[in-house]
C-alpha cells in the first residue's frame, strides 16, 4: 500500500514539473522615449547611471542600477559605464541623496566647483543617467500549506501575485548641462506558485525584463541611433 502511495506522490511531482515546463509566467513591457536633444558618444567618453533616492517611501535599488549598467556595458555598441558606488564615493559629498543635483541648473552650479569638474573630466563622463522607480507587488491571492513529519513532508496549494516595475531614466548631457531626454519603462506580469508535494515558483521576471529593455533603449539613445 505504501509502495502505491509513494508512486502516486512521485507521479504527482512529475505531473507538476511537466505542467510547469509547459506554462510560463508572462511579462509585458512598455518603453516610451522622449528626446529633447541630439546625442552621441565618443570612444573615450563614458556615462554614469545613478539611482534617485530622494523619495520618502521607496528608493531606486542599487541592484537595478547595476543591472542596467551591466547591460549597457556589454554586447554590440557597448558603452563604458562608471560604476555607481565608485562615482558617488569619488564625488563625495556632492552626489549624496541630500546634495545630488535635482535639476540641470543644479548640475551647472555643481560643475562650477573646480573639484567636481576635475573629477568628472577624470572619469570622462559625458552623460549622467538618473534612474527613478521601483517594483510593486500587489494582488496576492491563494494559500499554500506545508506539513513535515518524521516520514517526510510536502506542500499543497496555489498562490499568485502581480509585479509591476516602473522606472524613469532621465539623461543629462554633462558638457552642456542640459536634459537630452527621458525614457520610461513599465513592465508587469503575473507570478504563480503551484505546490503539489513541492512548491515550484513560476516567477514573472518583471524587473529583469524592465532592466534589459531599458538598457537596450538607453544604449541606442546615447549612441544617437
Amino acid at each position: 500500500m505504501s509502495y502505491i502511495a509513494a508512486n502516486l506522490v512521485k507521479t504527482g511531482g512529475i505531473i507538476s514539473l511537466l505542467l510547469i515546463g509547459a506554462l510560463s509566467a508572462c511579462t509585458s513591457t512598455t518603453v516610451d522615449e522622449f528626446r529633447q536633444g541630439e546625442t552621441g558618444i565618443e570612444n573615450h567618453e563614458s556615462i554614469v547611471i545613478l539611482g534617485r533616492r530622494q523619495a520618502s517611501d521607496y528608493e531606486t535599488r542599487s541592484e537595478f542600477v547595476d543591472c542596467v549598467g551591466e547591460h549597457m556595458g556589454n554586447g554590440t555598441n557597448s558603452i563604458s559605464v562608471v560604476p555607481e558606488q565608485e562615482f558617488v564615493d569619488a564625488m563625495f559629498p556632492w552626489f549624496e541623496p541630500r546634495t545630488a543635483p535635482l535639476r540641470t541648473s543644479d548640475l551647472e552650479k555643481l560643475m562650477a566647483e573646480e573639484v567636481v569638474a576635475q573629477k568628472m573630466e577624470e572619469f570622462g563622463v559625458r552623460y549622467i543617467v538618473w534612474l527613478d522607480g521601483f517594483t510593486e507587488t500587489s494582488g496576492r491571492t491563494g494559500s499554500i500549506s506545508c506539513t513535515i513529519g518524521p516520514g517526510g513532508g510536502g506542500c499543497f496549494g496555489f498562490g499568485t501575485w502581480e509585479d509591476d516595475a516602473s522606472f524613469d531614466a532621465r539623461i543629462w548631457d554633462v558638457a552642456s548641462a542640459t536634459s537630452v531626454g527621458t525614457i520610461n519603462t513599465d513592465a508587469n506580469g503575473q507570478s504563480y506558485l503551484p505546490a503539489l508535494v513541492i512548491p515550484i515558483p513560476l516567477i514573472a521576471r518583471v524587473e529583469a525584463n524592465a532592466c534589459s529593455r531599458l538598457a537596450s533603449q538607453l544604449k541606442d539613445f546615447v549612441n544617437g541611433s
Binding site: R53, D57, Y58, E59, R61, S62, E63, D89, A90, M91, F92, P93, W94, E96, P97, R98, T99, V115, V116, K119, F134, T135, P150
Partner: protein
C-alpha cells in the same frame, strides 16, 4: 523497536530545535555599525582644529524596544561615528589633531576644538511603519570651542538614512546599511554647511 527509537529521537531533536529558536527570539540582537567613509572633495579652511570625542560619543548605543517593551536591538554606533569624523575632519581644515582631553588641545595651540555629540537616535523598522524601507534618523549637537574651552558655536544637525527591504537578507545588515547612509548624510551636510553656520562664519572672519 529500532524504528520507535528513531522516531522518538526525531521528536526530541525537533523539540530541542524549537526551544532554542524560542530562546533566541526572546533575546536582544546586537548590531555594531560598520562602514567605510570616503574623504570629502572640498576646499580646506586655513585653521587648526583639535577633535575631542567624549566618552558618551565613544560608547554611544541605542536600544530599540519591541511593542511589548522587550529590548529588541542594541545598536552600537560610537566607533563608526569616530571613523566617520576621522575621515571627514582632516579634509576640512589645514591642520587637524585628535586629542584625548581638552588640556591636550590647549597644549597643542589650536584655533578651535571640535566636540561632536549625539543627542537622539531613531530607528524605524518595516514591521512597525509598514513601509518597505529601514530608516535611521540621528540628531547631533555640534560644538566648536576655543582651546580654553570657551564657546564659539553650537549647532544642531540631523541626518537620515534608509535602505529598501528587498536588498537585504537580514535585519541586522539592513539596519547597518541604513545607519551608514545616515552617517554619510551627516558627513555631507556637516562638511558643506560648516562655514555657513552664522557663529562659525563670524569666528572665521575674526581669525
Amino acid at each position: 523497536m529500532n524504528k520507535f527509537v528513531l522516531i522518538l529521537k526525531a521528536y526530541i531533536n525537533s523539540a530541542l530545535l524549537f526551544s532554542s529558536l524560542a530562546l533566541v527570539g526572546c533575546g536582544v540582537t546586537n548590531v555594531v555599525i560598520e562602514g567605510s567613509y570616503p574623504t570629502p572633495n572640498i576646499s580646506k579652511l586655513p585653521v587648526s582644529v583639535a577633535v575631542y570625542y567624549d566618552q558618551a560619543l565613544r560608547d554611544f548605543a541605542y536600544v530599540e524596544y519591541s511593542e511589548t517593551g522587550q529590548e529588541e536591538f542594541n545598536i552600537a554606533s560610537g566607533r563608526s561615528h569616530m571613523d566617520l569624523f576621522n575621515a571627514i575632519v582632516p579634509a576640512m581644515f589645514d591642520r587637524v589633531i585628535f586629542v584625548d582631553s581638552m588640556e591636550e588641545a590647549l597644549a597643542q595651540g589650536v584655533n578651535a576644538v571640535f566636540v561632536p555629540a549625539i543627542e537622539e537616535f531613531q530607528l524605524a523598522l518595516p514591521a512597525k511603519t509598514k513601509l518597505d524601507v529601514y530608516e535611521v534618523w540621528i540628531k547631533y549637537n555640534m560644538r566648536l570651542l576655543t582651546a580654553e574651552g570657551d564657546y564659539i558655536a553650537d549647532w544642531v544637525l540631523t541626518s537620515y538614512g534608509k535602505t529598501p527591504t528587498a536588498t537585504f537578507l537580514s535585519v541586522e545588515a539592513a539596519i547597518n546599511a541604513a545607519a551608514v547612509v545616515a552617517l554619510r548624510d551627516l558627513a555631507s551636510s556637516f562638511s558643506l554647511s560648516f562655514s555657513e553656520v552664522p557663529e562659525v562664519r563670524d569666528w572665521l572672519n575674526r581669525l
